[in-house]
Amino acid sequence: MSAAATHHDQAHDHADEHGHAHVPTYLETLRANRLGLWLFCISEVFLFVALIVVRFALWGNTRPELDQALGLATTSVLLISSYFMVRAEVAIAHGDRDKFLNSLLVTFVLGVLFLVGVVGFEWGLFGITFGDHELLKPTDGAFGAVFFGMTGIHALHVVSGLFLILMVYINGRRGGYSTERHWGVEACAIYWHYVDVVWVFFYPILYLIGTPVH
């Protein structure tokens, strides 16, 4: 009887005048965070699929003349960057901080290289052409609109991914992540891979499918 009463009091100890607060453990928070991030990824699928639908609706079975070597190069750079992102995540999970930080740095540099390729060269910010064709302009009807629209939205995601990598790098240098607790790294990695996978769809849709119109 008295034992039961004691237990009862203990149950009340967790509640103050604010009521019973469930303070989530790290694992519970991790689970919520993972779910939330994946739902965000699913949400973004609708944005990218909308853009892909626009491309097929407007371009049909045609495409503009684009520099194939440059397209292949930027795609390769982005895919390789994903490898280094995996390497970074595995490294922090094994407690190897130097490898983690170095891999992140490589990912960052490759991400910047991708941006230089797409925004710098393909958009013609540098005004340099490689082939004999002229650079596509944003005002070139549906070719310009869709190409700049799709690469632009993707580039925006790459930029935000780079921002995340930089943030994780700074926090990682200060020792903000441990073998067990590195949700920040994981989130950044999922997002980076996600942006990468989007490009895996965008690249053939923009560069390969359809007959080029001169």
């Binding site: 039961a4 009521g19 939330g36 965000f40 973004e44 909308a50 009807g141 549906a142």
Partner: protein, 627 residues
């Protein structure tokens, strides 16, 4: 002095300052850059950047980003809760707060304020339409006002949905808060600057003329008013609120339910909230993409929707119909975002006032998901007259008529629940019954629009106006008011004035019937939508006057409700713990609920709606170890 200190502690004040500061910063940045690059000044570019900066400024100054920014540099921040230190308790409702009940109230009050703004606009142009000819509105200002009425009411409904979902769901599933409290606050605080952008569009830059749909070429053509751009950006940023709020809700329901609360034992409103969120977090992206495309076409001349492009090489041009597809892929499902929570409220409240189990719980739960699913497959029924590909017509007609099936399931469940029940008629129940009657009008007039041959005649007529006002009032406004009255004692601890509540109902419901049926009648007789004038020879003057009169009655009745809600919280009528005899967990404990909702966690041991079943129990306190 103290008043001034309190004033400048309020997040809302800083949000407004931040919005103004952001707008000014954006404006001068664009001017400086363009001047430095020797470009001519561009009002369009200045406006877009200023609007984007203004939203960011508002978020930054209100303080809703502060914790996240600290996380970026590795500073951990504990979740702030409880009343603010050294400030009156009411100030938390005007500042960034992470408690879901506070955010729910913030959503609700903002929703009603925005509803009043939209309602005033409606009454302005209804007065214009009372007589044929041009009264006091120019055609341009008429266009701006009806467009603003549409989008402002939509903003109000989204805020109202946010209010119900935020306040009710964590409470119903026994969680102490949402899964991501900071994201929850963000969802609310980004809705404020976007609503302000939309309203600013009415004043700055000559308003806009596109209606709430913003179709190109009207929205993209050279020389179209700058207000269009503000409306589009406000619309766009409001989408962030929808997406973040929906993701938050889904995670909350997935992982934070009380012990024993399996999916089939959740309160039925939670199912409606899930269905709503599934639509919100997906479809919103496509309309966001469409609004971005319009913006890039206006500012950077990207020709997504411009069919006139030609360079003589056979390169493809844009297509204005494409916008309509992207737009309606969101904007049709979103009407189910508006009505599903309301229909959930109807199913939630009917068993309480009928003292009977909810008829066909699982079917009702699945019908919400069914409506959400079918809702994704029907968008082009808004475009039967748009000139889209003929092959799309029949499939979209058939899919549209399919919506009647899950909706019918709900109606039959409601009838089955009331049937043979011991029905009592308190104000919330009256509004539920009013909602069913009004939604029935909206529902029965829908198939006529979904069927191609009749739609070709009724498209863009006032019949459509009558139809969707009936669905919006039946699916959202009436249930929202029912929910406000029903949970008012839970929120404030006081009972509302029943007499005023009934007056509100008996003014609003016949008023609405008159308005909606009148709109349909003038529609059949030849009244078109979105125009400030009509031909007196149509013989619709009298009905138009009646519609205006009923709009005024509805307006006054809503003011009565607001008066009731404000005064009742100051009276001595302290509400009983469970005035409605509900089985839902939140009614088993005293009102108002504490900060974290429950003093002791509860567990679910029975079915939620077994009203009148002897000995049935839904929830009980989790026994402490050793009990």
């Amino acid at each position: 002095m103290r008043q001034l200190r309190i004033l400048f502690s309020l997040g809302i004040v800083w949000a407004l300052i931040g919005q103004a500061a952001g707008a000014a910063a954006g404006l001068f940045l664009v001017r400086a850059i363009r001047a430095a690059a020797n470009l001519p000044p561009s009002a369009e570019a200045e406006l877009v950047i200023a609007a984007m900066f203004s939203v960011f400024g508002s978020l930054l100054f209100s303080g809703v980003l502060t914790d996240w920014l600290k996380w970026c540099v590795g500073i951990e921040t504990p979740l702030r809760h409880g009343d603010p230190d050294g400030l009156p308790a009411w100030t938390r409702y005007f500042s960034v707060d992470y408690n879901h009940k506070v955010i729910g109230i913030q959503y609700g009050v903002t929703s009603i304020i925005v509803l009043l703004v939209g309602g005033i606009l409606a009454i302005i142009f209804r007065l214009e339409l009372s007589w044929p000819g041009e009264q006091f509105l120019t055609p341009e200002s008429y266009n701006t006002i009806f467009s603003a009425h549409g989008i402002i009411m939509i903003a109000s409904i989204l805020l109202g949905v946010g209010a119900m979902v935020n306040y009710l769901v964590p409470m119903m599933i026994g969680a102490s808060d949402m899964a991501f409290p900071r994201l929850n606050a963000f969802s609310y605080w980004i809705a404020i600057p976007s609503a302000i952008l939309i309203m600013a569009g009415m004043v700055i830059g000559d308003g806009w003329e596109t209606g709430w749909v913003g179709y190109p070429p009207l929205s993209t053509i050279d020389g179209s008013p700058l207000g269009t751009q503000l409306f589009i950006l406000g619309f766009y940023f409001n989408g962030f609120s929808s997406i973040a709020g929906a993701i938050n809700l889904l995670v909350t329901v997935m992982i934070m339910r009380a012990k024993g609360m399996s999916l089939w034992r959740m309160p039925i409103f939670v199912w409606a909230a899930i269905a709503t969120s599934l639509i919100q977090f997906t479809a919103t992206q496509t309309v966001g993409a469409a609004q971005l495309m319009v913006t890039t076409q206006r500012v950077l001349k990207l020709g997504f929707f411009d069919p006139t492009f030609s360079n003589g090489l056979g390169w493809p041009a844009g297509d204005p119909i494409l916008y309509q597809h992207l737009f309606w892929f969101y904007s049709h499902p979103v009407v189910y975002v508006f009505v599903l929570p309301g229909l959930g409220i109807i199913s939630e409240l009917l068993p309480v006032y009928s003292r009977k189990p909810l008829f066909g719980y699982k079917w009702v739960a699945l019908s919400s998901l069914g409506i959400a699913l079918v809702g994704f497959l029907v968008w082009a029924h808004h475009m039967f007259t748009s000139g889209m590909a003929d092959v799309l017509r029949i499939p979209f007609m058939l899919a549209t008529l399919l919506v009647a099936i899950p909706t019918g399931v709900k109606f039959f469940s409601w009838v089955g629940t009331i049937w043979g029940g011991k029905v009592t008629f308190e104000t919330p129940m009256l509004f539920v019954l009013g909602a069913i009657s009004v939604f029935l009008i909206g529902g029965l007039t829908g198939p006529i629009l979904g069927t191609i041959p009749t739609d070709l005649h009724l498209h863009d007529s006032y019949w459509v106006v009558g139809h969707f006002h009936a669905t919006m009032f039946g699916g959202f406004v009436f249930p929202f008011f029912a929910a406000i009255y029903y949970w008012y004692p839970k929120i404030t601890g006081h009972m509302y004035n029943e007499r005023l509540g009934k007056i509100h109902f008996w003014l609003m419901t016949p008023g609405f019937w008159l308005m909606s049926l009148g709109q349909m009648q003038v529609g059949i007789w030849g009244m078109r939508r979105r125009i400030y004038d009509y031909d007196p020879a149509l013989g619709i003057e009298f009905t138009h006057a009646l519609i205006t009169l009923s709009a005024l009655i509805i307006g006054w009745s809503v003011l009565i409700m607001i008066y009731n809600l404000i005064t009742s919280s100051r009276t001595e009528r302290v509400a009983a713990i469970n005035p409605w005899g509900s089985r839902s967990p939140e009614w088993q404990v005293p009102s108002p609920l504490p900060e974290f909702n429950y003093y002791r966690p509860f567990e679910v041991v029975g079915e939620p709606y077994d009203y009148g079943v002897p000995g049935s129990v839904y929830v009980r306190d989790v026994p402490a170890a050793g009990d």
